[in-house]
C-alpha cells in the first residue's frame, strides 16, 4: 500500500528530527497531503498509527493531517490557477486533464502532487 510507504517516510523525517533535539516525546505531527498526491488521509492515518505503536517516541502522538490545494501553471502563457478535483475522494483520485483555462495550453502542476511534513511539536 502506498500510504504505508508515505507513512514510513514521515516517521523517518520526524524521528530523525526529534532525536536530534533529544526529545522525550513527540506530541504532534502535522502533515499536508497534496490534493493530487493520491494519498488517502484515512489510510495514511491508519499507517501512521501502526508505525507509532512500534516507537516509544510516538506513543500518544497526535497526527494532524490537512489537504494542500493543487496549483497548476500553464507552460505556454504562464497563467496560474487552483485545480479542483471533481471526483469524490476514493482510494485513488482521477484528476482532470490539466489544460489552461485561459489559452488551452499544456500546463503542469506546481503544487499538490506531494506530501509535506509541516512540523512537529515535541517535549524536551
Amino acid at each position: 500500500m502506498h500510504e504505508f510507504s508515505i507513512a514510513s517516510q514521515v516517521a523517518d523525517i520526524v524521528l530523525t528530527e526529534a532525536k536530534r533535539r533529544h526529545a522525550k516525546r513527540i506530541l504532534e505531527v502535522r502533515v499536508r497531503i497534496g490534493r493530487f498526491s493520491f494519498v488517502n488521509p484515512d489510510q495514511l492515518r491508519f499507517s501512521l498509527e501502526a508505525i507509532a505503536e512500534a516507537d516509544p517516541l510516538l506513543d500518544g502522538t497526535l497526527f494532524i493531517i490537512s489537504e494542500e490545494e493543487a496549483i497548476a501553471e500553464c507552460i505556454e502563457c504562464g497563467y496560474r490557477w487552483v485545480v479542483e478535483s471533481r471526483d469524490d475522494p476514493s482510494y485513488h483520485y482521477s484528476p482532470p486533464i490539466v489544460q489552461c483555462p485561459r489559452c488551452d495550453g499544456i500546463s503542469k502542476l506546481i503544487k499538490g502532487r506531494d506530501c509535506t511534513v509541516e512540523g512537529i511539536r515535541i517535549e524536551v
Binding site: M1, H92, S94, I97, T116, V117, G119, E123
Partner: protein, 230 residues
C-alpha cells in the same frame, strides 16, 4: 579583579518538560528523488542506460521488453529489473531469452521506488552492462510519482483498457518519452479508436513519440527501438 579570568561558556537550554514547535516543511518524496539522482549518477559512471517501462497490468510491458531484447541482445549487454508484488513469472520469461533479470518483489507496494532500484543495481555487474530495462509494477498511477533514476520512460497502453486510459491518468503520460499503443489488432473488437488515444496523448504530452504496435507479433518494435535512440 583578575585580568585573564576565563569566562565560563554560557549555554541556554530548554527547560525540562518544555514544549517546542519545530517547523520542518520537508517533502516526503524528496528522499526518493535524492536516491533516484544517486542511481542516475551510478548508472552514468558505468555508462549504462536505463529505461523505465510502465503501464497497466496486462498492457504488454513484458512482451515489449522481450521483443526488444530479442532484437538487441547481440548489440548490447542487457539486463532487466522487474518489479511485481509477488511471483517471478515475468523474470523467468526474460531469463529464458538469455537475458539477466533481477526480480524485485515489492510485497504490498504498488510501485517500485529508488531504494529498491539501488539494491537491484548492486546485484548486477554494471561494468558488464550497457542497457537496463526497468519494468515497473502494473499501475498507471503511483509509479509516476516515484522517479527511479533512469534516462528514458516508456509507457505502454493497450486498446483493451478502453478509450479513457489517457484522460484518466494524465500524470503518467506527461513524463513519458515514448508511448506504445498496443494490441492494435483488437481495436475493432474493442470499439476503441486508437487515433483518439493518440490525440489524448498529444494533448497531455506533445513531445512524446507515439508508436502503434502489436507487441506480441513484433509490429512496432523497431520503431520503439529507434525512438529510444538504440
Amino acid at each position: 579583579m583578575l585580568w585573564g579570568m576565563i569566562m565560563s561558556k554560557i549555554i541556554v537550554r530548554e527547560d525540562e518538560g518544555e514544549k517546542l514547535d519545530v517547523e520542518l516543511e520537508r517533502s516526503v518524496t524528496e528522499r526518493n528523488k535524492m536516491l533516484a539522482d544517486e542511481n542516475r549518477r551510478i548508472l552514468d559512471s558505468y555508462k549504462v542506460r536505463a529505461i523505465d517501462v510502465m503501464g497497466a497490468t496486462g498492457s504488454g510491458k513484458t512482451t515489449l521488453i522481450l521483443q526488444i531484447c530479442r532484437r538487441l541482445k547481440d548489440r548490447y549487454r542487457i539486463a532487466v529489473i522487474k518489479g511485481d508484488l509477488t511471483s517471478s513469472i515475468d523474470s523467468d520469461m526474460i531469463m529464458r531469452e538469455g537475458v539477466d533479470s533481477v526480480q524485485v518483489n515489492t510485497g504490498r507496494e504498488c510501485h517500485l521506488d529508488a531504494s529498491q532500484i539501488r539494491r537491484a543495481l548492486e546485484k548486477l555487474d554494471l561494468s558488464n552492462l550497457e542497457l537496463i530495462f526497468i519494468e515497473n509494477v502494473g499501475n498507471l498511477i503511483c509509479p509516476a510519482e516515484f522517479p527511479l533514476g533512469s534516462h528514458k520512460r516508456v509507457v505502454v497502453i493497450s486498446v483493451t483498457e478502453g478509450p479513457y486510459t489517457v484522460v484518466k491518468h494524465p500524470f503518467m503520460f506527461m513524463d513519458a518519452d515514448v508511448v506504445v499503443v498496443n494490441k492494435m489488432d483488437l481495436s475493432e473488437a474493442m470499439r476503441v479508436d486508437p487515433d483518439k488515444l493518440v490525440q489524448d496523448i498529444r494533448r497531455v504530452n506533445p513531445r512524446a513519440h507515439i508508436v502503434k504496435a502489436i507487441c506480441r507479433d513484433g509490429m512496432g518494435i523497431d520503431e520503439v527501438i529507434r525512438a529510444l535512440d538504440l
